[in-house]
Amino acid sequence: MRKEDTVKLISAEGFEFVIDKEAAMVSQTIRNMLTSPGSFAETEHGEVTFPEISTVILEKICQYFYWSLQYARGKETEFPIEPELTLELMMAANYLHT
């Protein structure tokens, strides 16, 4: 995988998730960060830090990105959400326009 095809998402605790850019762009917020020229440092480094999103939530979000891509390609499975994560995940989803 070429580096320019990936992005690094960094959680509040500093945990790094390297995922496909295509997957990350499922989030409207991340898409804006990566595509608006010059305005975000993220565009250059391919790195986005989320000081308000915990590792466990960010992992779930990355899973959703990939699930969403599969769904769009016709693989319509259930996306499991653990009840104890729902509210925190919801706030992150709201922020990420996902």
Partner: protein, 582 residues
């Protein structure tokens, strides 16, 4: 974190929306409870077709709904998220008095509980806990009482309250909202107990823009309390009457100072021409509904002073030719409904100059072919109703130049097949009602150029199998009715490929068999299907399985029982809510 939820105020305009009204009916019977969850799925869910991926936000909200018992409070969430959870619970009918508690002190802005089952005073604590955040509350159809309404006193920023069909609210209850001076919209339709005196509670609501008191029979004499509500733009006092009492001319007087009124509805009151004189000064009035009022053409004197008037409903009034020359003064009219008045061609002469007219309803008037000659200059005309008139084939030539016509109703006229040729050039026609016995296959043959047709009513027209071949030209048809008995399964072959159909009525065609259902099984867009009085049997029902959108199915007087349909409903037709036999 950003806000993803915008407040949808428009939905509150939809007082009569079928949506939850229907579901409430079904909630009351336990056996149909499953319908509640299937039929009332949230809007987002309905729109989500195959392949469209649900957002993570949606998935989380559905999950929250599923696990709602886990949550004691949502007050730590941003309000826009809480609002989405609330709406989801309401739309899916999962909100209960218990789960409601989690929404205490959530600073919610919109609580749309209109027609929601079980809402009563016990809900008011949580509702009022939204405090000054609450902008809009819909309690229509609830069991809220006067004392429950008292709770709203603390919601000082309320802009919009809907108390339609809240039968337990009286004059006393209205006092509790009399200080909510930020209110811009208030509705309490169908309240039988509020009196003229109770109306005094409204006097202080100086910011009211919209007031809806439809079917409140006791309010006559109380409109005097509205005099200070000069911001009022819309007032609905339709049907405020009993056998003895009604809105009268005297009630019109206080309205004369409400010069910002744009929309006034006083249908079925006892207002006469004398009362209408009080409206002369309403220079912004653009919509006036006088349906069923004992007014005559003499009121046109006053109405001609209303320079902004665009829509006028005079259906079932006492309008005659006498004085009808004043119609010519209403030059800005776009919509005119004169149905069920004793007017003749002599009245239509005065319509000539109403060149802005887009809609004209002459249903059941005594007009004929000659009268239509006066309509030739009305080039903006889109909607024309000539049902139940003396219009015949000769008159239609006067319509052939009205190239903007989109909807023409010729039901129960004397129009014949020959006359229909005059409409062949009007390719803008989308809706055509030809429900008349003398129309036959030949008439349909004359109309094949109308390829934009979406609605075609041939209910009583004598269409046979050979006539159906012309239907192939109408690929955009959404609604089709052919019910005069002349069709067999062979004719249905020409209907089976009309894939845009959502309503199909083939009842009274007693020769149709199960083969018909097999033929139309590919019409999966059908929402309503009627093949009553035919030879359909229970064995044919299996062909309906692909019709996942079907909400209404009528198979009366067929060899089909209610149980047969119920079986199909539970196995294959989740959206079916209305069926016969029942």
């Amino acid at each position: 974190m950003g806000s993803a939820c915008s407040r949808k105020r428009d939905q509150l305009d939809n007082e009569d929306s079928l949506h939850r009204g229907v579901t409430r009916i079904y909630c009351k019977s336990g056996s149909s409870k499953w319908l509640v969850t299937t039929f009332s799925k949230p809007a987002v869910d309905m729109q989500r077709g195959k392949g469209q991926c649900p957002s993570l936000m949606e998935l989380c909200i559905y999950k929250t709904r599923e696990d709602i018992d886990r949550y004691k409070t949502f007050s730590m969430l941003p309000r826009d998220i809480t609002q989405q959870i609330f709406n989801e619970l309401v739309n899916s009918h999962c909100l209960t008095e218990v789960s409601l508690q989690a929404f205490k002190d959530c600073a919610l802005q919109d609580l749309d509980l209109g027609e929601y089952p079980g809402v009563n005073d016990n809900w008011m604590g949580v509702i009022s806990s939204q405090g000054s955040s609450l902008l809009s509350v819909n309690l229509a159809g609830s069991d809220i009482t006067d004392s429950g309404l008292m709770c709203l006193r603390v919601c000082g920023n309320l802009q919009d309250i809907n108390l339609n069909c809240c039968y337990q609210i009286s004059d006393y209850g209205l006092q509790h909202i009399s200080a909510l001076s930020n209110l811009t919209s208030l509705s309490f339709r169908r309240n039988g107990t509020v009196t003229a005196q109770g109306m005094s509670a409204l006097a202080g609501l100086v910011n009211l823009v919209k007031l809806d008191l439809e079917k409140c029979p006791g309010i006559h004499g109380g409109l005097v309390h509205l005099r200070g509500l000069t911001k009022l733009e819309s007032l609905n006092i339709n049907w405020c009457k009993t056998t003895t009492d009604a809105i009268t001319d005297a009630d019109m007087m206080p309205l004369s100072v409400l010069t910002n009124l744009e929309k006034l509805q006083i249908s079925c009151s006892k207002v006469t021409d004398a009362g209408i004189t009080h409206l002369k000064g309403l220079q912004k009035l653009s919509i006036l509904n006088l349906e069923g009022c004992p007014v005559t053409a003499a009121c046109l004197d006053s109405l001609s002073a209303l320079v902004a008037l665009q829509c006028l409903n005079l259906t079932r009034c006492n309008v005659t030719d006498d004085g009808s020359e004043k119609f010519s003064l209403l030059r800005n009219l776009k919509v005119l409904n004169l149905s069920f008045n004793e007017i003749t061609d002599a009245c239509l002469v005065h319509m000539k100059g109403l060149t802005n007219l887009e809609s004209l309803n002459l249903d059941s008037c005594r007009i004929g072919d000659d009268g239509l000659a006066n309509l030739t200059g009305l080039q903006q005309l889109k909607f024309l109703v000539l049902s139940d008139t003396e219009v015949g084939s000769n008159g239609l030539r006067h319509l052939s130049g009205l190239i903007n016509l989109e909807s023409v109703d010729l039901s129960f006229t004397e129009v014949t097949d020959v006359g229909l040729r005059k409409l062949a050039g009007l390719s803008s026609i989308k809706s055509l009602n030809l429900d008349a016995r003398q129309i036959t296959d030949a008439g349909l043959a004359a109309l094949t150029t109308l390829t934009q047709l979406t609605d075609l009513d041939l209910f009583g027209a004598r269409i046979t199998d050979s006539g159906t071949s012309y239907l192939r030209n109408f690929k955009n048809l959404r609604c089709l009715q052919i019910c005069s008995g002349g069709l067999t399964d062979a004719g249905v072959k020409n209907i089976k490929d009309l894939s845009s159909l959502s309503l199909l009525n083939l009842s009274q065609n007693c020769n149709l068999t199960d083969k018909t259902l097999e033929l139309i099984s590919g019409l999966t867009g059908l929402v309503s299907l009627n093949v009553s009085s035919s030879r359909i049997t229970a064995a044919g029902l299996r062909h309906l399985k692909p019709m996942k959108n079907l909400r209404s199915l009528s198979l009366d007087s067929c060899k089909v029982t209610a149980n047969d349909i119920k079986k199909l409903q539970s196995s294959d037709l989740p959206n079916l809510v209305c069926f016969r036999p029942e």
